[in-house]
Amino acid sequence: MGLDASTAACCALPVFVSLLVVRFAYVTYHSGRPLSKLSTSAARVRCLIVLGSGGHTAEMMNVVTALQKDRFTPRYYVAALSDNMSLQKAQVYEQSLVLVEADKEETLGNAQFMQIYRSREVGQSYITSIATTLLATLHAMWLIITIRPQVIFCNGPGTCIPLCASAFLLKVLGLGWSSIFYIESIARVKKLSLSGLLLYKLRIADQFIVQWLQLQQKYPRAHYAGRLM
């Protein structure tokens, strides 16, 4: 009996692994390619907007301001637990939209704000940061599963990594599909940030946007569409 079970496991494991590899290859192939018409027959997409901090948040809010609000709705804003300013900025902006639109009830429900644990605070020791990284990753996974975003906007720094990784994992497992847009900060002129480099090299970002031409020349899969600031 025990033998049978282990033989079955031995046979099933390679099949399972190769299925996962094929799926991984499929997802990697499809990431970075425009969606087929069918998948966006819906008129609106659920958005996850990851707010970095300070300058990152300012750049992201410029993108959000230019988004077609009727398409990119509902909007879930996420910021680090230690960062109070970012969500406040987003809230002020969403409030200003409510004032413009007539249908107040609906507009208010279109925006949600949540906080996420950070994997590592500045100056935190490396030993405790293992535990906090684990916590942050689990929390990110939970957020992605509950929100099920169709589109993710992020621009660094580190806060977006667990979220993007979780979303990518769900794609590989076939539990959901989200298009990940990463817009590298304007402060990066010659080199990508660590978060940017990770998402670019691992091909987790579906579309990778930089704000300087010289950076686009260095990373040919990146797109350049002018500056945000």
């Binding site: 300070g54 900060s185 946007i209």
Partner: protein
């Protein structure tokens, strides 16, 4: 102090106003009125230098500004006041008042940094992108001082690129004095603010939304 202010305001401020106006005329058409706001400020006699370090700790910059040589250089250029936003720094600059030199004032944080920038005739800032673009948007002459003590010093990239494009001057704490001496405000070119629409168009195309 009062005597000094009047000397500077009558001698150099109108001159500066004229120079700035001319530069605004020279500038390419869409940004023609860019520097007019700045000229207005300079003509009221008080020419304030605003030093900002954002939310960082950048004592090296505060110390550099607080030095006698630096104050001398700023005085020479016709500035009358220094206001320092010192953030999390611990170095307390010496407040000078009375008849000696420039008026120095400082504070740690403020929610109305933009008001100080608007009031300033010159901004000396750390290299954070928030402070840089806020100052450029308000069309103020800007010297960015790069903090070399930071671990991951990517910030100099932005300041150097914008300095190359003549939107600002770039310095280190130890070269700030030379930068002030050598600064030629007429060499500055207005910064045209960015636009998020092309990025949003790109995103829409990717998602196969009709592009309007």
């Amino acid at each position: 102090m009062h005597a000094k202010i009047t000397i500077f305001s009558s001698a150099s401020a109108p001159l500066l106003g004229r120079r700035r106006l001319r530069r605004a005329d020279d500038a390419s058409s869409p940004v023609r009125n860019y520097f007019l706001g700045g000229a207005e400020m300079g003509d009221r006699g008080r020419r304030m230098v605003f030093v900002t370090v954002g939310t960082t700790c950048f004592d090296a910059l505060v110390k550099a500004v607080d030095s006698e040589a630096m104050k001398e250089a700023l005085l020479q250029k016709g500035y009358t006041d220094i206001v320092i936003q010192m953030g999390r720094g611990t170095y307390i600059p010496s407040k000078v008042s009375g008849s000696s030199t420039l008026q120095v004032d400082y504070f740690t944080f403020s929610t109305s940094i933009a008001d100080y920038i608007r009031e300033a005739s010159l901004v000396i800032s750390h290299a954070g992108s928030g402070s840089i673009f806020e100052t450029l948007r308000l069309c103020k002459p800007l010297i960015v001082v790069v903090n070399e003590d930071l671990m991951d010093n990517h910030q100099s990239e932005l300041a150097e690129e914008l300095a190359e494009r003549k939107h600002l001057f770039c310095a280190r704490p130890q070269t700030l004095r030379e930068a002030v001496d050598a600064m030629d405000l007429t060499a500055l070119r207005p910064y045209e603010p960015g636009d998020a629409k092309p990025v949003v168009t790109l995103i829409n195309k990717f998602l196969r939304f009709p592009v309007d």
